[in-house]
């Protein structure tokens, strides 16, 4: 009985505190912190929280939950955030299939959602919404930029490879859209496949002059290790998802020489980025990935908008988000009409770092001010 009374009192007190701070802003983050590919979610969280900690504001509360890469769990968590915690802003989702399960209903019910990673085509086009902002990219961006870059570099017979699932087929479609030429072949692998001997034999037997692949997470690690030992000599290209700092550490020497496209690089030369990379390394003793940069930018965008208005004042807050008045670690950053970024995509090469371990080095610009092709389907 005594325990129960105490618990009841405690509950009353928290309610009282919540009412006292009516101006407080609550941010709900649903991201992948366990299971396959959890390093993406961990980096988004760490980047996001770094910016929040740096801001040192006492009126912001961030609630973080793990979706374990499960759409049903993400959906449940988002309902809890909206109904129980009454969050003002949601963010965090890594995977496009989870985003599709959560985002449409969240924004329809009047909560803001800022995506730090997933950028499925439907949310950029048909299902775009005034409360949905994508701070990372539309999924096609990095693949398309690589298509343009390889075309420009004079490759004429690329062979494409991706897992047989929506983001995989989208990736190859995005590549072909800006490559504008014939490709030798398209190989579709199984999602989660770990052995690529059969595909490597096929690549060897083809007359391709280059390989473009999209194999996120552990799939890319397995493939690159097997590729190195196969004796096939062919330049390898991909999007940054297959070559983030954590993946290339696991791949080791096999990753050296791979060319990849990213909207951000840790050695991109601007003041905001230098400060971010230094602070992140200090806090976490590792080099941030693009996901950490996206988390950081998302938080800084929110902070910049909070300086203008509270999310309860929806129109003013939305205008402040649209203005994107913050120093992005990517340099130039602005939103297109569908509230997805219009941004430069860079080319990076995996090289041997000072400590002998592989790391990404900025090589140049792949494409300037890329905008997704779905913007015209968006009626807002």
């Amino acid at each position: 009985m005594n325990k129960l009374t105490r618990a009841g009192l405690g509950l009353l007190m928290t309610t009282a505190v919540a009412t006292a701070q009516a101006e407080e802003v609550r941010i709900g983050m649903i991201t992948t912190l366990s299971g396959g590919g959890s390093h993406l979610g961990v980096d988004v969280r760490d980047g996001f929280m770094l910016a929040i900690d740096q801001a040192a504001r006492d009126d912001i509360e961030v609630l973080i939950q793990d979706d374990a890469r499960r759409p049903d769990l993400a959906k449940t968590l988002s309902n809890e955030f909206m109904q129980r915690d009454e969050v003002d802003i949601m963010t965090g989702i890594i995977w496009s299939n989870l985003a599709m399960a959560v985002v449409p209903s969240v924004v329809r019910q009047g909560t803001f959602y800022l995506s730090p990673n997933a950028g499925p085509s439907a949310l950029a086009g048909r299902l775009c919404h005034e409360n949905y902002f994508n701070v990372a990219y539309q999924n096609d961006n990095l693949h398309g930029a690589m298509g343009a870059y390889m075309r420009e570099q004079g490759f004429e017979r690329p062979l494409l490879m991706a897992p047989n699932y929506p983001a995989g087929t989208d990736a190859l479609a995005g590549f072909k859209h800006l490559y504008e030429g014939e490709v030798v072949d398209e190989l579709y692998t199984q999602l989660g496949q770990t052995d690529y001997a059969a595909e490597i034999a096929q690549i060897r037997a083809s007359d391709a002059d280059s390989l473009f692949f999209f194999l996120p997470g552990g799939m890319g690690i397995s493939f690159m290790k097997q590729w190195q030992n196969s004796g096939v000599e062919m330049p390898v290209f991909g999007a940054a998802f297959s070559f983030d700092e954590i993946i290339i550490q696991a791949v080791g020497q096999a990753a050296i020489g791979a060319i990849n496209t990213s909207e951000w690089a840790h050695d991109l030369d601007n003041a905001a980025n230098r400060a971010f990379v230094e602070a992140f390394r200090e806090a976490h003793e590792r080099t941030p990935t693009l996901y950490a940069a996206q988390g950081y930018d998302t938080a800084r965008l929110i902070l910049s908008a909070l300086d203008e208005a509270h999310p309860d004042d929806q129109d003013a807050f939305r205008e402040a988000l649209r203005a994107a008045d913050f120093a992005s670690v990517r340099g130039d950053f602005r939103f297109g009409p569908n509230q997805h970024p219009i941004q430069d995509i860079y080319v990076r090469e995996v090289v041997e770092g000072a400590d002998g371990k592989p790391t990404n080095r900025l090589v140049g610009l792949a494409i300037e001010d890329i905008q997704d092709v779905y913007a015209e389907q968006c009626r807002m």
Binding site: Y188, D195, A198, A201, R204, I221, N229
Partner: protein, 306 residues
């Protein structure tokens, strides 16, 4: 489709098959001798890979890592058998599935807790990296040839062990009549622990070998476990010979299917459609194979309890 490509794919299938055999032989022994369905077999695969990665990183010797990985998996198997599995022999298969599924979760979360969720780094040593020329001009990775060789050696070793040693005689006796072998005064509990540890060691060896080729991470064992179950169902549960034949069959069919089905559909479909349909069908192919074999031989190719 050139002959070199075909040869290379056949070797790829053989390599996948020998790796599956290492997994399936332990699984089928444990089922044959103790009548136990062990879903946690994939966890020993993961344990082997992790210990190999750690040992190789700290000592610099891949061979030492391999030995440590197999031994650690065997030790983990023995401990798990004494603590948990021993209580399950008399229970129904459903209880066994529940308990060993719990073991998967414990092993996975434990590993994540200890080593984090990023993959560990493990690569073949320098003397096993690179490739050699095959007859016909294609090049083939040395490391994969080594896996085939190890698989063949293990298969021969298991054959000798089971058919020519006292331990093998007891294992065979255990398979045919569990009560009788106990009544004859053989310490059945020790035999069970030994067989379980042997199975775990083989899974650990498979994990170590494959870890250097793929990535060493939490949950790496489960996809292989599913294939290993297909193998023992095709081969006949409890039969080592069946496991060997089933493993090679599954390896070759899976590998060739993945390559030739999309190409086959390419003759009368657009390339992207053919890739989609072909890949989807290739993923189903081994299950179709299993269904067909079970339709004609419900006990599998070599049923142990005929």
């Amino acid at each position: 489709m050139s002959a070199t490509l075909l040869i290379e794919q056949l070797i790829n299938g053989l390599q996948l098959g020998t790796m599956l055999f290492l997994m399936a032989s332990g699984l089928t022994l444990v089922f044959g001798v103790m009548g136990l369905i062990n879903l946690a077999h994939g966890s020993f695969y993961m344990v082997g890979a992790y210990v190999t990665a750690l040992t190789t990183a700290s000592t610099g010797s891949f061979l030492l890592g391999l030995a440590a990985g197999s031994l650690a998996a065997a030790a983990a198997g023995a401990v798990v058998e004494v603590l948990v599995i021993r209580r399950l022999y008399q229970r129904s298969h459903l209880d066994q599935v529940l308990a060993t599924f719990a073991l998967i979760l414990i092993f996975s979360e434990g590993t994540r807790w200890l080593f984090g969720s990023s993959p560990l780094w493990l690569s073949p040593p320098d003397w096993l990296s690179g490739s050699v020329a095959l007859p016909g001009g294609a090049r083939y990775p040395v490391y994969r040839l080594m896996i085939i060789a190890v698989g063949v050696l293990i298969a021969a070793g298991l054959y000798l062990l089971i058919s020519h040693t006292r331990l093998g005689m007891r294992i065979r006796a255990g398979e045919s009549d569990r009560e009788m072998i106990g009544a004859l005064g053989i310490d059945i509990r020790r035999l069970y622990t030994l067989v379980f540890a042997l199975g775990a060691a083989l899974a650990g060896l498979a994990g170590s070998l494959v870890g250097a080729l793929q990535s060493v991470q939490v949950g790496m064992g489960e996809p292989v476990l599913i294939l290993a179950f297909v193998v023992i169902v095709i081969g006949g549960i409890g039969s080592i010979k069946g496991a060997l034949l089933g493993a090679i069959l599954v390896g070759v069919v899976d590998t060739l299917g993945r390559i030739f089905l999309p190409a086959l559909f390419g003759h009368f479909m657009s390339p992207s459609e053919a890739a989609g349909v072909g890949t989807a069908l290739a993923a189903m192919l081994i299950y179709i194979l299993m269904a067909v074999i079970l339709a004609f031989k419900p006990q599998g190719l070599f049923a142990a309890h005929d």
